[in-house]
Symmetry: C2
Subunit: 308 residues, 2 copies
């Protein structure tokens, strides 16, 4: 039986001024998935974690991705073991890791027959199940690693950006922010002058990534449209942000639609100082939290082992 084991990483989407268009992969945390090619055109799911996610493939993010692949050709199926480490609802791409991991694993088992864009298309079925919307700003960096620009979804236009060697600190305060709530509180209209500021910043941020210019990245990490609205859903956000920048972070913001908050730093020492700040703030506020000190993951989904 053809079998593959992969690591599928967490991701940060809505990268500050890059709402809906910019995401990056993290080296940690990551899910482990074992996928086996089987003869029957079905998907069998075993959870190897304690998140109690649905094992009905139609209701499981990885399941719907694999079903959409089977739909193209009814002669095979998949058996899947998922060991999730990226907590669902954390805002660091838990559903994308399942969806992208399933697509990459299936592609490998089938002899690498799909392009990256095709894998993204399959994986977006999982995002649709999880959040009601097909979006690729977690999926694309999860598959390819680094920083991905999603210029457009219809038609799909993904541009990989070279990513600098930055360190990332993430704090996941253990509160629930529903993606649907986070989306509903956004205003449908924005001021033109704010939009101009935002596209100046996104142009600066992308240039900073491509030129590996840390100062420019830092100056451009500003979101005048989404963050002022959404950050009210995250207790301690403003304080965390101010103090992390005082501790040396280049900048950061809400990861995805929250509640996780991420900060970029130019070295590990700073990233750890930033972590200490985050711990201080949430300990004092009295909200449980998890932190990660990691780097931008340049590989995306990785194959741990395969028997083909």
């Amino acid at each position: 039986m053809k079998t593959i084991i992969i690591k599928s990483p967490a991701t940060v989407a809505n990268l500050v001024c890059g709402f809906d268009i910019l995401g990056m992969a993290l080296s940690e945390p990551y899910d482990i998935m074992k996928v086996k090619l089987i003869d029957e055109p079905q998907v069998v799911i075993h959870n190897k974690d304690n998140f109690h996610l649905p094992t009905d493939p139609e209701k499981n993010v990885a399941g719907v991705v694999l079903l959409s692949i089977i739909e193209q050709n009814h002669r095979f199926g998949f058996e899947l073991e998922i060991e999730k480490h990226i907590m669902p609802g954390s805002g660091i791409g838990s559903s994308a890791a399942s969806a992208a991991g399933a697509a990459v694993a299936a592609n490998h088992l089938l002899g690498n027959i799909f392009s990256i864009d095709e894998m993204v298309q399959f994986a977006m079925n999982g995002e649709k199940l999880a959040s009601g919307v097909k979006h690729a700003d977690n999926i694309a960096p999860c598959i390819s690693g680094g920083v991905s620009l999603i210029r457009s979804i219809h038609p799909l236009d993904i541009i990989p950006l070279s990513s600098p060697d930055l360190h990332v600190t993430v704090v996941h305060p253990q509160i629930e922010v529903r993606t649907s709530d986070a989306r509903q509180i956004l205003k449908k209209q924005v001021l033109l002058k704010d939009a101009i500021k935002q596209w100046g910043n996104i142009a600066g941020l992308v240039t900073g990534f491509l030129k590996n210019d840390h100062d420019l990245i830092s100056r451009s990490l500003e979101d005048v449209i989404i963050e002022p609205v959404r950050s009210i859903l995250i207790p301690g956000f403003d304080e965390v942000k101010i103090k992390c920048k005082e501790a040396g972070a280049l900048g950061g913001g809400i990861s995805g639609s929250g509640p996780s908050v991420f900060m970029l730093s130019k070295d590990e020492k700073t990233a750890k100082a930033v972590e200490a700040v985050m711990k201080d703030v949430y300990t004092r506020i009295g909200i449980e939290f998890i932190t990660y000190v990691t780097t931008i993951n340049k590989k995306g989904v990785e194959i741990v082992s395969s028997e083909l």
Copy 2:
């Protein structure tokens, strides 16, 4: 007497999706300015063209720039001859050429004492006189050449982008579009979904410039916010744009606040085919016009000769 003769080029601001933040310099047309350092703290202006621009330095774009430089140190003045070839009101940076040319010439005469940002600051006084607003998206590329990203005006943050070897075709239909009208018809609010599309495109365009990726530049040359509103002020705009792209142009749009329209092409042959299309359309509509087939100017203001 210290004297300098410079060429100051035309520029395209509001580069499609880069409204207010992205501009580029053109190799043609350009103004010629002769600037002499004099002992008296005053500005004396002689026009060597037929545009009848004011010779009162307080009312002249180059004049106010030089006055603002004199203000810093009252021990010198400038005598200035302007031979304008960039038609005022054309939308290809006529006032910026005067303002930037004056600042660069003065800086040279004074022994290169100013940084580029300082020259931009002085030159923006000229833009303020011309349009009521300090903006740098013509000034910056005029001074430095190539494509300039103005991430922010307050504080000034100019990022030079590497510019690909593209050819530019410009048509200037001989109608008047007042900058103030062009600004007033813009809506103060825009849809968030359009703003997201715009910042996806600006991120794509900047990436395309930095990676010299013509296809990406072409896909990203789309403005869903400003152009749909302003293009109604330019007869024939939609037809010109569609037919120029059919003729092979990568894309383009309104130059500045119009009425000029520019198109980018990957080679001179295409740029000339695009010019033929522009001529056809405006000849048929019955509007007088001027066209230019040129390239992105990588040098900015150039010194033709100097006696120092």
